[in-house]
Point group: C2
Chain length 254, copies 2
């Protein structure tokens, strides 16, 4: 998408999903889609997502690669009390600082966990890389944290969503990325040429064609136009619909 004046900065982001449970296929990630939708709303361009295992060197190296490359890095997973929750110490390693007890995180834990239950494992959740600021967690209270442009969040979707929602208003972005969807009952092979021509006429929009199986059998195609200019989107969506209709289809603006 290039419909932004050259003088304006485009803010970019990457999502880093940390966890063996995703790479083993045990857990179906849903955090990426949530973050992606939220970033589109505030006009931050999500450029990449990665899934990596609970391996400290990999986490540290990947965090360093990505934080240099993008304006924002959002990590999910690995900030609980068990031995496999190593994200905080690995992010500390990435930044070359100690992973230390964060006084404010400590106070939060003390406010929700009885002193006799605040064992060593739970205290690990109050440790952050030195210099980190906390990310509020209204669901289960145990905070995430932000280290420069790296936002470290939980893996449990409800908790991650609360953390991301807390962070979102603080992010610099741009005009929201809007979309229009034209539902199409013709096969992709029929509309491909005309769709490509619309894309060529609207270089500032991103037009995608997404076929899916209908439950009853056969294909259904969603033609999705994305961009920051509502009027431009409406015009292009109208051209897509007219093109489908001209080929004998029954397009519908979803």
């Amino acid at each position: 998408m290039s419909d932004i004046p050259a003088a304006d900065k485009v803010y970019t982001a990457c999502v880093l999903i940390i966890g063996n449970e995703i790479l083993s296929g045990r857990t179906q990630d849903t955090n990426l889609a949530y973050i992606a939708q939220g970033l589109a709303q505030i006009g931050v361009v999500l450029k990449e997502a990665r899934v990596i295992p609970d391996v400290c060197d990999t986490i540290a190296a990947t965090v360093n690669e990505l934080r240099a490359k993008y304006d924002y890095v959002f990590t999910t997973g690995g900030i609980g009390p068990t031995h496999d929750d190593i994200t905080a110490e690995c992010v500390a390693k990435a930044f070359g600082v100690q992973n230390t007890l964060h006084p404010e995180a400590h106070r939060i834990l003390q406010s929700v966990i009885k002193p006799e239950d605040l064992n060593e494992a739970r205290l690990r959740m109050a440790h952050t890389p030195q210099g980190a600021t906390l990310i509020v967690n209204v669901v289960s209270r145990v905070p995430g944290f932000k280290m420069e442009n790296v936002y470290v969040m939980a893996g449990i979707p409800r908790v991650m969503q609360a953390m991301f929602d807390a962070v979102k208003p603080t992010l610099k972005g741009g005009p929201p990325v809007l979309s229009r969807t034209v539902s199409c009952d013709l096969p992709e092979g029929i509309i491909a040429k005309g769709l490509g021509e619309v894309q060529t006429r609207y270089p500032d929009l991103d037009i995608g064609s997404y076929p899916a199986f209908r439950r009853g059998g056969g294909f259904h195609v969603s033609l999705v136009l994305r961009g920051r200019d509502a009027a431009l989107l409406d015009r292009a969506a109208g051209e897509v619909a007219a093109m489908v209709k001209g080929l004998g289809g029954n397009p519908a603006l979803e």
Copy 2:
């Protein structure tokens, strides 16, 4: 030198998800979990997954980075007939070869599409990087392809699954990765110490703790042990269960 891999050769893989629709949050990916589970069955270690946009330079550079790093690269998405389906030409670019009409793919298309309907857009689906071999698609016939260690598959889950299922028996792997899950009704903070001790005693196993919200409220924790030695897994799972029980919980082997 021998063609026989060392007995302890570990085969590694990466999944490369190509598509703006995933990074926009429009589409919830489910292909990663399917491939991950399939690879675990044949003992191939999935080390990483990436999601990247429909940008040719990014696709080509990422393919080249990953194919050098892992034994197998599985891509999903971008092999249809529309203008945004650019995976084949970008993989060709990565390998420094032409994207040309593949005679066998051409024959397959001719067998399912009437000559008058086999337009330029559809013919694009019969193009592969020079030297590629085809991946059978029993769902919609249009094939994927393999270029050295890069397996290029569709994005539509049903089609991707069919392609991956066709490829799976041809992959070299190792003993399947097995798992045991101990369901735990105690909070992570209570069992963390004991669980870490079991992990220390079983360095050949990967033990993870995965909390989730129950629908009725409160947490539920799944303690998942993964490894290739069934007897070792059973013994370690028994120790985990005994540990949870010793702390007053009611563990259950799922």
